[in-house]
Each structure stands twice: as C-alpha cells, then as structure tokens.
C-alpha cells in the first residue's frame, strides 16, 4: 500500500511539472528548457511572499500563484515573442539562456542558504495514516489535490472556455487561427503564464516538503522524460507518462537497486523513443528534428 502512495505522490510531482512543458509545446511548439528554473522561481516567490505576509499564509500562497502567472506572461513578452517565426532551435536556445540567467539571478537575490517557506507560513508538514498502514505527509496530500485540480481545471478550460478553445486552435494551426482573428501573442502569453503557474506550484510544494535550495531546478529536468513518454502535445499523456515514470522509479528503488532511480526515467524514455517516438498520446505528425 505504501508503494502505491509513493507512486501517486511522485507521479503527482512529475505530472504537475510536466504539464507546463506540454502547455507551452502544445500551443506554441516551443520546447521550454527553462521550465525547471521557472519552477524554482515560483518556489522562491512563495518564500518571498511568505516572508511578507507571514501572518496570512493563504494571502501569501495566492500572491505567489499570481506572481507565477505574471512572470510567465512577462517572460513571453520580454523574450519569447521575439522568437515567433524563428527556427525551433533559436527558441530552444533562448529558453536555455533564460534558465542560466534565472539561476544566477536567484542566487544573487536569495543567496545560497536553504530556505523553508513552510516555516515562514507557520504550517507543519505532518504525517497522516491511511488505510493498510500506509502514511502520507500533508504536503503529499496537497500535491495529490493540486495535481487533480490543475488537470481537471485545464481539461475544462481547454474544452469549455473561449480562451481555451483559442489555445487549442492556435496549437492546431497557428496561421489559420490568426486568420480567424485569434490574437496569437495573447494566447501564447497565456500558455506561458499557465505553464509557469503550474510549474511554480510544483516548486512551491517541493520547497514546502524539503526546503528550498539552488538545486531544485534539476527536478524540473527529471520530469521532462514524463512529458516525452506521454507525448509532448498531450496533457493526458503527461499524466500517464508521469505515472509510468514514477511507477518504474519507485518499484526499481524498492525491488532492485536505489541507484537506478536516477537513470530509470531516461531508460523508459529511450525505450519509448525507439518504439513510439511521438509518445503514448502524442500526435505523430508533430515531430521536429532539432
């Protein structure tokens, strides 16, 4: 039972991070390699707002989420919109440069010390007993709840709202969408904003669980195989890919060797690239060679 809980929690972490990769790629066909850093920025955002509004943790949390959304939109307008019409490689390189810049800036602003946003908020990461003797932490529960809410919200948003339908249209055929009067820059900016918000949320929860330090962005890269395994342009795929990677990781740690934890996502990814390079739920025509 504990193994199932562990898979669900780790899968939630990967799913929350990988949906950002998918949102940006699905809408604008840009692969954001700064997603890990944006995730870390979201966590530092929570630390900053928690320090500012320590007496009002919910306000701090809401402010950090709003900040994440705004940062994503700002990143699009400050940098990524200039990449429109440029080669895929140019856009990818721009995100790599952005990641390096953000990493340096965060160390300059927040220093090298480990931070604990949960302590700033005055909350405790308690342990809860589930059925079958399994246990889960408060942050683990929050991760499961947030992932469910984010995915349900995104599915509903993309299917039932005007902006969601515009995002899908832009993702399917940008030129036709533009000719139908859809403002592509607005749609792309929203995709960056939502991706940074969900990634930031993952960063906040990870920092709440284990503290916040300069290596957090690497976790963002660990979720990347989950997005690719599921299919880079499918939210459902991101969810499935995350559970597959988390399942393989947890089971191998338990039954084979903990050292495999680091390589198993990439083994699964390689296997998928050989068998089905567009991923479980990805679109076959959408592959680019970079």
């Amino acid at each position: 039972m504990q193994l199932a809980v562990n898979i669900a929690v780790l899968g939630s972490i990967y799913a929350l991070i990988s949906c950002g990769y998918v949102l940006i790629y699905r809408v604008s066909r840009v692969l954001s390699l700064a997603h890990g850093e944006l995730m870390m920025l979201g966590a530092y955002g929570l630390y900053a707002t928690a320090s500012l509004f320590s007496a009002h943790p919910l306000v701090a949390l809401a402010a950090a989420c709003a900040l994440g959304l705004m940062v994503g939109v700002a990143v699009y307008f400050a940098l990524m919109w200039r990449m429109t019409g440029e080669s895929v490689l140019a856009a990818v390189l721009a995100t790599i440069a952005l990641g390096i810049l953000l990493r340096g800036a965060m160390i300059l602003v927040f220093g090298t010390q480990t931070r604990h946003p949960l302590d700033e908020l005055g909350w405790e990461n308690a342990s809860h007993e589930l059925w079958g003797g399994a246990r889960i932490s408060t942050v683990g529960l929050a991760l499961l709840a947030c992932t469910a809410l984010v995915y349900l919200g995104l599915f509903a948003f993309l299917r039932a709202t005007r902006w969601g339908i515009r995002m899908r249209a832009a993702g399917q055929h940008a030129l036709l969408a533009a000719q139908r009067g859809i403002g592509l820059h607005g749609v792309y900016a929203l995709a960056w904003g939502l991706a940074t918000l969900t990634g930031g949320l993952a960063g906040m929860l990870l920092a709440a669980d284990a503290g916040l330090e300069g290596t957090l962005y690497i976790v963002g890269l660990k979720a990347f195989p989950a997005a690719l395994v599921g299919g880079l342009d499918s939210l459902l795929g991101a969810l499935a890919g995350s559970l597959i990677i988390a399942g393989a990781e947890v089971l191998l740690i338990h039954y084979v060797d903990p050292l495999l934890a680091d390589v198993v996502p990439f083994i699964v990814l390689l296997a998928m690239l050989i068998v089905r390079p567009w991923g479980l739920f990805g679109t076959r025509e959408e592959l680019d060679r970079v």
Binding site: T112, G211, G214, V219, A261
Partner: protein
C-alpha cells in the same frame, strides 16, 4: 606618433601584474555560486572576513593578506582556468580549494607544475593529505573519511542498550558512497547488523520511496554521511513514515540551525567543530567579525572559515618576507595552530601528515525537555595513523 608608441607600450605591459607586491597574495577557487554553493560560500566569506579583520590590525608580519577569490561553480574546467590565472597572473603563494572534489585534479596538476602549496579549506580532505602526505597538499576541513564513520559507530555502540540493527544512507557521489560502504563493513566488525543501505541521487524530488525501503529493514539506528540535504531529508521521510529509531549524521555547517528547526530528540549530529551553543570566547570574536563584515550567513555557519583563517594566519606568520611558495610550503609542513576551543585540540601538521595528528569528535542532539541543543558526547579523540 608619440601617442601610438605610448599606447603600444601600455598594451605591452603584462596584464597579470601581481595584485600586490607588498602583500601575501593567496588564491581561492571556490563554489561561490551554482547548485552546491550553500556548503562552500560561507567558508570563503568567513575566511575573507577573518583575514580582513587581521589586515585591520596591521596584517601579518606587518604586511597585509590579499585573498583573490574566483568562482568555479564546482566545475572542473573553471577550477582549472582559475588555478592557472591565480598562479600565472596573480602570482599567489598559496592556492586554496573550497569546492567539490571533482575540481581537485586540475588544481593539483597546477600546484605540482608550479610548486605552489594547495590548501583544502572547507572541501573534503583528499587521501593525499593523510599520512604519508603529498608534500604540496594540506587540509583543515572538519570531516575526515573513514575516521567519521569510526567515531559515529563507536558512539552508536556506546549508546545502544541492546543489539544494533543499523541502516545506512548516502548520496550517489563517490565520496559519500565510499564512506558508507566503509561504515557498512566496519559495523559488522563491531557486532552490529547492517540491515539496508540507501543511496539517493542528487537531487531527489521525494525521499519517501528510499525511506520506505530503509524502514522495511527495521533498523534501530541509521548512520548517514552525505551532503546535508540527503542526510536530513532521509531522516524527515523516515519520521513521516512512522519510524521511531535513532539517526546519527554528520554535522555540516548548518547543523546547529537545523537541529533547532527539526527539534527531534533522537536526531544526533557528530562533528569536530564546536557549536555556538558551547559559547566560547572565540564565538564572541566570530560574531564581531561577522557583524563588521556584514556577512549574510548565520554565525553558526562560519566556524569552518574561521578555522581556515587561523591556519592561514599561523602559516604566514612563519613565512619570512618576501614570501615564496616554497617558504609557505615549508611553514605549512610543520604547523601547530591553537584553534581557541573551536576544535578538541590544536590543529597540527607534520612533514608526513597534512590532515591532523588527532581528530576529536563531539555529538549533539536537540533536548526537547530543555528546549535547546545539548551535548550527547564530549570530545573523543581518534589518532590519525598512516
């Protein structure tokens, strides 16, 4: 024409003229930024503050000490470039490394090529500093491979009231894995039963899967020797899974602050540096120097850097002016530094031992009743033998 000649003459001047002909110039390659900076930057900042404090009092032998600090972000290629610049351009008489062990090889190569002594201050002491030591390499860093496990397991044996079922936790980096492998073997010779060993990759988003496996072995003690994040997150994951055993781990720079944050009576940290809780007269000095230098790190993080500063002070005092790398090396090869109680005994380097002749360990834990950090064991020494 005159203007052109002047311009050419200026351009022909060596770019890397020594920073100060009238100072002891030392060069540091350190992980000041990058993922692991948290464990190294406080050491360098404290060392720099200590030396600036000395300069304010007239320097050493009437000469100031100039510390050139270059950031290597724990990358070997940057460390190689830094070492070359420090030796060839800044003409340093001592190289210092405060970074990951992966940066050692290029710095050792440069030190050997030029005969400049290399001092590890705050980074893991390599085997070359233990007897029989490499003539050019020296180390004052608190932790010492194999000795730490000997001390930790001796404490566990003393403390345990029944059979010891011990688990181990390491990070998937060579130095940590090597130490835990050694500890696993040692535990058997001490009559303990090793039950499981978990090695976590850096970084790991969730330690619970590793802790689940470790808990299944039902250990009553766990020993972890790794970067702090791996040590403490494994402990916290075990506790959230309902594990009630005792956990002993290495006292890194942030141990004192973390004991206070975690407040668990059965989390023990073992180390060789005194804690602020000991309230020694030298701690008042550290506080004053840190305040004057406006250091942003908590004062409890600064002991290691202060120790390095004291070692440098003593080594340079024994180096007659004008300093050369050979003179500094000779001074370092026979050195005794009074650390004013920051460690269990003075630090001593001899011709063939550039680590220390004795290593002294203390153990601390959080006392929930007293609501403060208390000593679980006072200084106990281990001889450092060839």
């Amino acid at each position: 024409m005159k203007k052109l000649i002047c311009t050419l003459a200026v351009a022909a001047l060596p770019v890397g003229a020594p920073l100060g002909q009238d100072a002891y110039v030392l060069g540091v390659s350190a992980a000041m930024t990058g993922p692991v900076a948290g464990g190294y930057a406080p050491v360098v900042d404290a060392m720099r503050a200590y030396l600036e404090h000395l300069n304010g009092k007239g320097g050493i032998n009437g000469k100031p000490v100039k510390l050139v600090v270059l950031d290597d972000q724990a990358q070997p290629s940057r460390a190689a470039a830094n070492a070359k610049q420090l030796v060839n351009q800044d003409k340093v008489v001592m190289l210092l490394n405060t970074s990951l062990s992966s940066t050692y090889a290029p710095m050792v190569a440069e030190a050997k090529r030029t005969g400049v002594p290399l001092y590890y201050a705050g980074s893991v002491c390599p085997k070359d500093t233990f007897p029989p030591a490499d003539p050019l390499q020296f180390c004052s860093t608190a932790f010492g491979a194999t000795l730490d496990s000997q001390a930790a397991l001796a404490f566990v044996k003393d403390r345990a009231q029944g059979p010891v079922r011990i688990g181990f936790a390491a990070m998937a980096i060579p130095v940590s894995r090597g130490e835990i492998d050694y500890a696993e073997g040692l535990s058997k010779t001490l009559g303990m039963t090793p039950v499981d060993k978990q090695i976590t990759p850096p970084p790991t988003p969730d330690y619970t899967p590793f802790a689940t496996k470790l808990k299944e072995g039902d250990p009553n003690w766990v020993w972890s020797w790794a970067p702090w994040v791996a040590q403490v997150r494994m402990f916290e994951a075990l506790r959230r899974l309902g594990w009630e055993g005792r956990y002993i781990t290495w006292a890194h720079l942030n141990a004192e602050q973390e004991l206070e944050r975690i407040r668990d009576g059965e989390l023990y940290v073992i180390g060789t540096n005194a804690m602020l809780e000991d309230n020694l007269p030298v701690h008042a000095e550290i506080r004053a120097v840190a305040a004057r230098a406006n250091l942003q790190h908590p004062v409890s993080y600064l002991t290691e850097g202060f120790v390095a500063g004291m070692v440098i002070e003593q080594a340079l005092k024994k180096t007659a002016w004008p300093p050369t790398p050979a003179k500094v090396q000779a001074a370092m090869s026979s050195l005794k530094v009074d650390l004013k109680g920051l460690r269990g005994a003075p630090l001593e380097w001899t011709l063939d031992n550039h680590f220390r002749t004795q290593q002294h360990y203390r153990v601390w834990r959080w006392d929930p009743k007293a609501n403060r950090i208390v000593r679980a064991q006072d200084w106990k020494s281990i001889d450092v033998k060839p």
